[in-house]
Amino acid sequence: MTIRPFMGLFLGSAIAALSTGLAWAEDVTVSFLTHWPPETVAKLEAAAATYSKDHAGVKIEVRAVPFGDLLTTLRSQAGQAGGPTITGIYDLWLPELARDKLVNAAPEANSTDVTTNWPKGVATAASVGGTVYGYPNEIDVYALNYNKKLFEEAGITAAPKTWDEFFAAAEKLTNKDKGQQGFGMINSWAAGVVHPFASLLASNGGSLVVDGKPALDSENAKETFDLYEKLIKSGASVATMGTADANTTGPFLDNFVSGKTGMIIMANWWESALKAGMGERFADIATAPIPVGPKGDGPHSISYSWMTVVSEGASDAEKKAAWDFLAWFNGPNSGANGASAMGDLLQSMGILPSRTSDVAAFAERLKTPFLAGYVDVLSQAHPFPTVLGGQEFTEALQGHIEAVQFGKETAAEAAAAAQADAAAILEKAAK
């Protein structure tokens, strides 16, 4: 009698032990693991083919997995034969991946490239203890998305600027007969649940973590939980309309694109999903800053970044080829009009690039109404805290936010329990 977890944990370890030291003597194959959708993967493959033309002997293979499987795939396969050489990761994961020696510190030339050509804050997010571990690429920031047509039907003339206006708008947009909710909350996707909550908290003058310690029992956080509870109890948010699947799609997306949700708080990378789902009706969607809470000093939101890292377990030849490819792919000569190929690819998804020269190259594109709303709030955004235990912390908080959404916990209970869990998780992770 065997059980899969045994095999997952131990055969993986055994294979890892057996496969170390393997290297290609001549040709090098670099495997690039990503969670991007098929159309973006096709663009990445085209860029890789262009690189291979000038780099005989280097083959770039692209592997895509759902977002929900990305971290597991990296953790279970990095360094093994056939495992990823390059992986696109979320910055929250970097501290633990660096601690576990799964990612390779950037060679000096690449490190200098990153610190020179990216804004300081972005380069810092790609570093641990001052060591650069990857090439930053996308920057994501949260803002309020709303359906202008539904606003017009409800007689709302402007995007809400305060929580009071936000709640009033959510109530006006709610129409139970049409199955329409005012504000959509996500469930079943950790970042999708926590980031909008953290954005509202930031706009209420609070933060998830202060000086390395959780601050979920602050008055600012309690008021944010209260806002969620109020929206649910009033019927302006319907929890069952917010489910997401492993590909970050599902009913949450369906309800917004089909005009059954008036407002959501979402990141800029959402643009491509909205365009695909809405077609011409995408013009109905507008972007606005996060409404400000009673304790807030202005609209703030959460930002986070992604980067491409190289597996520490890859052979020396693979690492060398991987860093060289990343320098080219993220450099100003691989794309059109001074942009990088990575910048081109990110822009195709509506994602904000982070390289300074890419921001300049795409200045016009970033002025489109949807993206301009995100660019405007970026300077006032707070980076999502990247701490050891960050993923577990996020998942624990997700559980309590969802418990409020589904009426399993009151706002006060959720704040107290989330604080206790977060304190224990961060303390354990720091040991």
């Binding site: 009698m1 997952g8 633990e96 469930n187 069952t240 589904f406």
Partner: protein, 285 residues
């Protein structure tokens, strides 16, 4: 002669199991060599049965897994008997077609089943809710509510597995001598009496085997949760295999993950042993 076989079993089954048990008593990151594991006694077990977030989630996953297994068995076995008896009736037209259709569901890859069911269950545009609307029943939340999500995943499992178990039941039915039914009919038995006093008792071994296999399959449920629900909403579909992966691999807490695996193994061994013990206590006819 036996050495190669025993050696393979030792390397691929016994050694990983022994390592799992040993690591369950250590603090170990699954990204580091075994040599980095440090002995911490029963701390991992204390944590998974304690009041921390890990403990709460683990106990929730254990309960969800038990419910999933019970519901799956409770639905699969009666349906398998029903379908098996229908198909086994020689006079039923289209029995072969029905058998093929039923078994075909078992051959469809779970990834395809999961993706299709996620659309079928869609609360706003899903065909299931549209069909319910035709008979005057309002839309159901299916996978979107913690009250119905686990049952929805069970129904998906039943749909896929029932064909396989129907084939097992048909195999069991073919082993029952027709003369027994003839004798019973001469004694006046009809319909449910034939089923209750001949069919069911003589299917006992097949049903026992089916129940154990259905239990093991149910405990190993992973794909629909990973592909559709991610354990949500509010942890309502968080099952053991999914949670062990999350802790042992995503969070790299190999010691904790091993303690969970050992607990799951023990729970399964105890349950299967109890099922066999109960079956042995049944009076021999």
């Amino acid at each position: 002669m036996l050495a190669p076989g025993i050696g393979l079993i030792a390397v691929f089954i016994l050694v990983p199991m022994a390592l799992t048990v040993a690591l369950a008593f250590t603090k170990w990151s699954s990204q580091t060599p075994f040599s980095t594991a440090t002995f911490i006694g029963l701390d991992n077990f204390a944590e998974i049965f304690g009041s921390s977030s890990v403990g709460r989630d683990f106990k929730g996953a254990l309960i969800n897994t038990a419910l999933y297994a019970l519901l799956s068995i409770a639905l699969i076995l009666p349906l398998s008997i029903l379908f098996g008896m229908l198909i086994h009736q020689a006079q039923l037209r289209g029995a072969n077609i029905l058998r093929t259709i039923l078994f075909a569901t078992y051959m469809v890859p779970m990834i395809a089943v999961a993706l299709v069911f996620s659309k079928l269950y869609s609360p706003s545009e899903g065909p299931f809710n549209q069909m319910l609307g035709w008979v005057g029943i309002g839309p159901q939340p299916w996978l979107s509510s913690p009250d119905t999500a686990l049952v929805s995943v069970v129904l998906l499992n039943v749909w896929q597995q029932v064909g396989y178990f129907t084939i097992l039941i048909i195999a069991g039915l073919t082993q029952i001598p027709p003369s027994l039914y003839d004798a019973a009919r001469i004694d006046g038995a009809r319909g449910l009496n034939l089923f209750g006093f001949i069919t069911l008792p003589l299917l006992r071994r097949t049903l026992l085997f089916s129940a154990v296999i259905a239990l093991i399959n149910a405990v190993q449920v992973f794909e629909p949760v990973a592909l559709i629900t991610q354990g949500g909403p509010v942890g309502s579909t968080n099952v053991m295999t999914y949670y062990i992966r999350r802790v042992g691999i995503e969070r790299a807490q190999g010691g904790l993950g091993s303690a969970m695996s050992v607990t799951l193994l023990l729970a399964l061994v105890v349950t299967v042993t109890a099922v066999f013990a109960l079956a042995r206590r049944e009076p021999q006819r």
